[in-house]
């Protein structure tokens, strides 16, 4: 059913990253995947690192010392940034994906109004929330502590 019948021309990951003249929602889509993969990687590292506690106090302190430089603080902050985006955008998507904020079927009269236009105010509010979280998180990481 899906075998190749000509020269393969699937965009692959280029389709996520080098969208060309695409719209902002595609970049939110790509960023959502990238931050999701980043969080997964962090989660795996986190599990491996904290599991060293099972090897005793010494092993634990050693692995903690290994991840305590300023570079790791920046890395942790990036994890927080990815979390803030992925969480808020994920909530937006979870609601949109069960039909909230996408509008009803309409008569398509040019210029077409699509579900993206219905969703735009929600996207703007969500991204403002993400920005606020990133700023507050930044203050917490680098100023208040």
């Amino acid at each position: 059913m899906l075998e190749s019948r000509g020269h393969p021309n699937r965009l692959g990951m280029r389709g996520w990253l080098f969208g060309g003249r695409w719209g902002p929602d595609r970049y939110l889509y790509s960023l959502h995947r990238i931050t999701g993969l980043g969080l997964l990687l962090y989660f795996a590292m986190h599990i491996i690192l904290t599991s060293s506690r099972a090897l005793g106090q010494g092993a634990w302190e050693e692995s903690m010392a290994r991840v305590s430089g300023p570079l790791f603080v920046i890395g942790e902050y990036l994890v927080f940034v990815a979390f803030a985006f992925h969480a808020i955008n994920g909530l937006r998507l979870a609601l949109a994906e069960v039909g909230f904020g996408v509008g009803k079927p309409i008569e398509p009269i040019y210029p077409y109004r699509t579900a993206l236009d219905e969703q735009r105010p929600i996207v703007v509010v969500a991204m403002i929330l993400v920005a606020l979280l990133i700023v507050v998180g930044g203050l917490d990481f680098f100023v208040w502590h």
Binding site: N9, R10, G12, G15, W16, W22, G99, P105, Y112
Partner: protein, 276 residues
């Protein structure tokens, strides 16, 4: 001759591919005169008729109806017959076959996989009274408001632009893609249809709507304003409601009884005999 009176030209960069040869697709350039109102498809005909008869593509109606001329034009999937060169804002027209489909030859994509997915989702009215469906005695009842729940999705011309634009399809050949899923919703919401439970089974798993994450490009490029992204989200709403047992199934619309106490007006002729 002043610079202004020089005839304007337009440069076509066309992706060529010959399946007989062993070479990869390559770009070929053609310069043709520009005339006001020239569409991208018109330009291809100018090339074929006057410069290079070996250039191959699909098209038919030349008026955005048949859906056969979808191409990747200056970085976006569009109908070539529906795209004025003047609206591209460039004197270079870059034409490639729709991505996410294998290239059969030059600008001809293999749309077979899309139609396989489409067919798997039963894009037609399903209901138990087969006899009535095959040999209708009258119309099924449907109000205008009921029709408007699916009408937008029924304008689809199967041009495949949405599939070429979808980033999920770009990495996932198993996912059905926007057009087939929008058509599943079109028939699910048709009050004459009773196929929700059958399509529900076909929509399970990775080919179903769950791989959509609302990049929305399908709706952005759709030349008919079908808004497949909306259809997919509404399809999911119905599937989730059904899963949570919140969806109230309704029987398919009944046949409108023919009134037997009204005489036919003599000035209205009988319908001609059926041809199929």
């Amino acid at each position: 001759m002043t610079a202004d009176s020089k005839p304007k030209t337009v440069l076509y960069r066309v992706l060529r591919f010959e399946p007989e040869g062993s070479s990869n697709p390559r770009w070929q350039e053609y310069t043709i005169p520009y005339t006001s109102g020239l569409t991208v498809l018109d330009g291809l005909w100018v090339i074929k008729e006057g410069v290079d008869p070996s250039l191959v593509w699909r098209s038919s109606c030349r008026m955005g109806i048949c859906g056969s001329c979808g191409m990747f034009i200056n970085g976006l999937p569009r109908l070539s017959c529906n795209t004025q060169i003047s609206e591209l804002g460039s004197s270079t027209v870059e034409v490639a076959p729709l991505p996410n489909f294998d290239i059969l030859r030059d600008l001809v994509p293999d749309l077979g996989p899309m139609f396989d997915h489409h067919q798997a989702l039963s894009p037609f009215i399903l209901r138990p009274d087969r006899e009535e469906l095959e040999k209708p005695t009258a119309e099924y009842y449907q109000s205008s408001a009921e029709m408007e729940r699916y009408l937008q999705f029924s304008y689809c011309i199967k041009c495949a632009s949405c599939i070429a634009a979808c980033p999920t399809v770009a990495t996932d050949p198993v996912y059905s893609g926007p057009m087939p899923l929008a058509q599943a919703q079109r028939y699910n919401t048709d009050t004459r249809d009773d196929g929700f439970d059958i399509r529900k089974l076909a929509l399970r798993g990775p080919q179903g709507p769950w791989r959509c994450h609302f990049a929305g490009e399908c709706s952005r490029v759709c030349p008919k304003g079908v808004d497949p992204a909306k259809a997919i989200q509404l399809l999911r709403r119905d599937l989730v409601a059904d899963y949570l047992r919140l969806r109230r199934p309704t029987p398919p619309a009944a046949v409108v009884e023919k009134p037997d106490d009204i005489a036919r007006r003599p000035d209205i002729p009988e319908a001609p005999p059926a041809t199929v």
